[in-house]
Symmetry: C2
Subunit: 699 residues, 2 copies
């Protein structure tokens, strides 16, 4: 359905409502208007990496892991699956008259904020630290959710608009200061792309203020969104963010004032309850009927676009309940978990041979943890395979598997009455009785997550530093001291510094929060049933780098993220090994696209990610380091050579002025093409095949 | 080692200690005495159904489920396995100088209290409501733990001595009033048997007072224990129970007074910290050196019996770490889970045929819950199979399995922001899309457990009634309304009244908290790979029966437990169906033993439990109902007939006077022999094969 038609239908319907009825529809839990045949509708639903909080659904890797796939095609298919399941659940439950929260068709995903600081607890929800990657992946996700049908399959939401990345503890009162250059260069591109190119139906405002204005009522941001970019969908506040105007930001006098400010700025829908004061504001003459009607029409336009009102219905009304966790969707989750895992180190121990690795000791608090599979904003899978279970299943009948929890995830002891380190001796004995040790460490949403959302140890949800919790550092040392061949599995949603353990262990595999199939995928990689191929969508810093960076509250990009960081990272953005040995032999082409000749010189088939980085050598306004301008997930059999055509992001040839104006760069440009790392001058560090250089023509 | 020799060694060693050193050894966390070569020793360890709280160990069904096996031989082998693993862990960890809590050789198990009231949260830890069954099973467990070697493999503990069964909320200040007749007839027999026949090394005193005296310093109880029964082991207080003397019972003035009372009464070891005041009491002249020495010698006698002191060591010192969760032990757990499950109803739906049951809907909050596998006082298994996982594995490639959590276990909604019943519609839709429904309901240790030990909803740990939580009752009704063939699986540690749902469902299977293999065992039973054979070790009452019973705080046996209950139970003590049809054809013999001719008239092989009940028809002092006096787990192939010889408990021919004196009964006695139920006059209710009668000779 054309938006213009939906809008017309919306206008007609809204026209038949009283002002009070219209005002009521601006709440996330919009009531029924029975006389007009309008059912109740709860706008709040989540689908970050699978339909979330709404019961059984296919569980995919957490968003940061989905980003590590560097695979927009697969991501789009995942989003399609999420959308299909959301429709199926909506079809089934609305027919039961269950129209509650988390059962609707408006998914408040994806989170396209830039993972600016490695401590941010919600960074796991994002596609990492690069605006181009975030734009490409966000577009794929939105297109997958919304579909290409006559009606929207579901409505996607670009959040949190804009300049939002912690600290969590301060989010309700914080004023993020971002330069116009950083906005245009880093914080806004993905939002712009999702509006202009992906046609995202919803944009959610952030909790914080940005440059003094609350993001849910920011003239600057709204002018970008609806003015410059032509956004025609609806705008929703983050949950209880409008209450923050008066309670925490102290920029309004009270609820009526906050409602007035938000509605007049164009915040159509309130997640929270402050819009219960809309009629009060109207009666006081603070807002007009037109203010209310405008937002109401936008919201009903979305409902008509979804085909949930009117006689025509939606082509998705017939999606049956049986699609939920259907084999096709489960296989997507499995494939995603395989693609998401990033191999950070391998001295040759991997892949393991179950026939020759003897007794396997699986040790660590995330070994048998379901929580570490799922991250935050998750649904309920009907089967979870933990890393321990995946290994057990893989070697059944071939090896004995010993297990020790080793320590509590974040506390100093497992048993409250015991002394600190009450599982360390067991862990050491387990390692001693094993021929190969798999140490499964990391975090879960109790240690990194959202403010106020979980029982996380720091409450705010952010990490204090990049180290593993102390309990796990003690475990690492105790187990590594046994001197057995050791693989470390890291399960986390952000940059972790193992503090030297990576040098003492034989291999280091990062699984992120890999979803319900995570343990199966990790085991398949450990035992060579699949080659790892994920790449870091964030820089893995040394913990000491925190002291070189701006403060957590400082939104300057100076010395943050791979484009601006001047130090030597622990593992760079884009990094990730395979069991193959993919190299670039030649690159040619021009500004629009390049042809890259790549070969797998190894003896194992693998997928890998061909990455292009561009550096403007002649513009002082350009980021100091080469920036990602194109990438392509490729499959290369052992010995196979292929040529790949890759498009280059045209933005890469532009630069941004201090006033936030995007202008052509000066050049000349150096284009780097290779596998496994952004700084292709440090190939000897990444060790993942050779790279080639190419000087682009001057404009 | 003979106790006399161990005692002599203990006396010699204690003789070399200062009084202060001796006093220090009466604490559960006894410090090292380096000058005498005595290592630190923490007496507190647990092994109720697997080594508990001490890391990885084989997880067996909760004790109430172990009782439902009616299989002392298997229980003894399980206890052997627990003991072997405890030794292995002790050997490994003490060599690492880890001598902390839960790593020692003194297991504070079994719990042989009588499950007097069906609301008691810790009833799950017991062997049920019958003193004879408890005595037989407790003996098997203690013998399995302690072994028959030259040294004790581990030391078992009979607890909580005596007359202890809730309410949990009152336990620190409660005074249980028990008649002398009830003590001799019900509360004390198992303790006496474990001392006199099983040679239990440790007895633990209860928190409460009994008839005015605190159980950890009761002259009446101590006279029974050490006087009448000749107990020579050591006596330990329940944890922080001696502090209760002054803080909660208010029967002493303060710590010194409490220490004096306990030590003089013969409480050798203090779990808690009140015995830190022993030296203070000594210095004040309240206790003598002899008081301290006596207890210290008893404790070191146990340590010498365990072979942990002295040059000889123990034959168990060489048990390797590899026995922990070894295949033999895991198979015991699997077998126990199969034997523990009690089939309460089956209209013929079971066993299911995976080839013809179509799509299976698994619904309910315990479907995929690990917590519901383990009950309280549990260790850490390296693999848990939930009911959902067991079913998935069983039908893989044959049936589709749909899953819905259905509701939160004890709360009214799964998602905090949703409306109550937020998974009910999903559950209904799941049922509608299924051909067969498996509803997995019940409790876990958050809803029934120990006071102060868990985050249980009622905090006290006791149940308020016998109904399922309201959320689950709503789920039951919603799902049953779909009218699909439905099996209810109950996972709980106590009597549950499904409130009529059992009549509407096709089958009802009680799994208790079945241990790490629980889901596998349940699936094997559901799909006919095994025939269920467990029997109720407690009466399953109608919830309305609570109003007919004495108050929870009333320890009179009047109208409590199957021996005294005058009402009609929901399912009687001893009840449990199989897929066979085992019947008794004849019984003959005398007072010592009987010969029972039994036949399996069904067409499936099965195990079953042959039960003997005796009723003294001529003694007014006898319990009103027939009492269990013998039993035998038997295996009968389809069509097979066998004769079994079963011994009769000689106590069954005695009665107890109001003064607590056990005297010969008058007779005549009626002996009932049959399968599946105590009240063999209601065979038509139990429907599990016929029974025979036998009039015993008069004395």
């Amino acid at each position: 359905m054309e938006r213009s038609k939906a809008r017309k239908l919306a206008e007609e319907l809204v026209n038949r409502m009283t002002v009070e009825e219209r005002a009521g529809q601006l709440r996330f839990d919009a009531p029924a208007i029975e006389r007009l045949g309008i059912p109740a509708y709860n706008w709040w639903n989540e689908g970050l990496h699978g339909l979330a909080r709404g019961g059984t659904a296919t569980s995919f890797p957490q968003a940061i892991g989905l980003a590590a796939m560097f695979d927009p095609e697969l991501l789009e298919r995942i989003a399609e699956a999420i959308s299909t399941e959301t429709r199926a659940k909506y079809n089934a439950l609305s027919s039961e008259e269950d129209r509650d929260i988390y059962h609707g068709l408006t998914l408040w995903s994806p989170n396209i904020n830039i993972f600016r600081d490695p401590r941010w607890g919600r960074g796991q929800e994002t596609y990492g630290e690069d605006p181009f990657l975030t734009s490409v992946l966000g577009t794929a996700f939105v297109q997958g959710l919304q579909g290409e049908g006559n009606t929207l399959k579901t409505a996607a939401c670009a959040k949190h608009f804009a300049v939002h990345s912690g600290p969590e503890a301060l989010r309700h009162s914080f004023d993020a200061q971002a330069s116009l250059k950083d906005m245009e260069e880093t914080y806004l591109p993905a939002f712009r792309t999702l509006v202009e190119e992906a046609g995202v139906e919803t944009v959610m405002g952030a909790y914080n203020r940005t440059n003094g204005e609350p993001c849910c009522a920011s003239d600057f941001l709204m002018e970008k969104l609806r003015g410059e970019w032509g956004f025609e969908g609806h705008f929703v506040s983050d949950c209880w963010a409008i209450r923050d105007f008066h309670e925490n930001h102290h920029i309004t006098e009270g609820p009526v004032d906050s409602v007035t400010k938000a509605l007049k700025a164009g915040c159509d829908l309130n997640c929270g309850c402050t819009y219960e004061h809309v009629m009060h504001a109207f009666e006081l003459g603070r807002i007009s009927e037109e203010d209310i009607t405008r937002s109401c029409v936008r919201l009903f336009t979305t409902r008509f676009l979804l085909g949930t009102l009117g006689e025509e219905g939606s082509e998705y009304d017939s999606i049956p309940y049986s699609v939920i966790e259907c084999p096709k969707h489960l296989e997507l989750s499995h494939k995603a978990a395989l693609e998401a895992c990033v191999l950070l180190k391998n001295d040759g121990l991997l892949p393991l041979d179950p026939g020759s690795c003897g007794t396997i000791g699986v040790i660590g608090p995330n070994s048998n943890s379901r929580a570490s599979l799922i991250g935050n904003y998750h649904g309920t899978a009907s089967r979870y395979t933990t890393v321990l279970e995946g290994i057990q299943d893989m070697v059944e009948g071939k090896c004995r598997v010993l297990y020790s929890e080793g320590c509590a995830l974040g506390k100093d002891r497992v048993e409250p009455l015991a002394q600190a380190g009450d599982r360390l001796a067991e862990a050491a004995v387990t390692a001693r009785n094993s021929d190969t040790v798999i140490l499964v460490l990391g975090l879960d949403e109790t240690l990194e997550g959202e403010e106020g959302d979980t029982g996380n140890s720091y409450y705010s949800g952010d990490k204090e530093d990049l180290l593993l919790p102390k309990s796990q550092r003690l475990l690492l040392n105790r187990v590594l001291a046994e001197g057995k061949p050791t693989v470390i599995i890291l399960m986390a949603g952000s940059s972790i510094d193992p503090d030297g353990a990576q040098d003492r262990a034989n291999a280091l595999l990062l699984s992120w929060y890999p979803g319900a199939y995570g343990g199966k995928a990790v085991a398949e990689i450990l035992f060579g049933k699949a080659s790892p191929s994920g790449k870091l969508p964030v820089t893995f810093y040394h913990n000491s780098a925190l002291s070189e960076m701006p403060d957590f509250t400082d939104y300057s990009l100076n010395n943050r993220t791979y484009r601006y960081y001047s130090g030597s990272p622990l593992y760079p953005f884009g990094y990730g090994l395979t069991y193959g040995n993919c190299c670039v032999e030649a690159v040619s082409g021009g500004r629009n696209s390049v042809q890259v000749v790549a070969v797998n010189k190894g003896d194992m088939d693998t997928e890998d990610v061909l990455e292009l980085y561009l550096h403007d050598e002649g513009s002082e306004l350009a980021p100091p380091n080469p920036v990602l301008c194109g990438f392509c997930r490729v499959k290369l059999a052992a010995g196979q050579k292929r040529t790949f055509e890759i498009k280059i992001d045209p933005n890469a040839f532009t630069v941004v002025t201090e006033e936030g104006k995007r202008i052509p760069g000066n050049g000349p440009w150096t284009l780097y093409a290779g596998f496994g790392g952004p700084d292709l001058r440090t190939r000897e560090l990444t060790g993942n095949g050779s790279a080639s250089l190419y000087i682009a023509e001057e404009k």
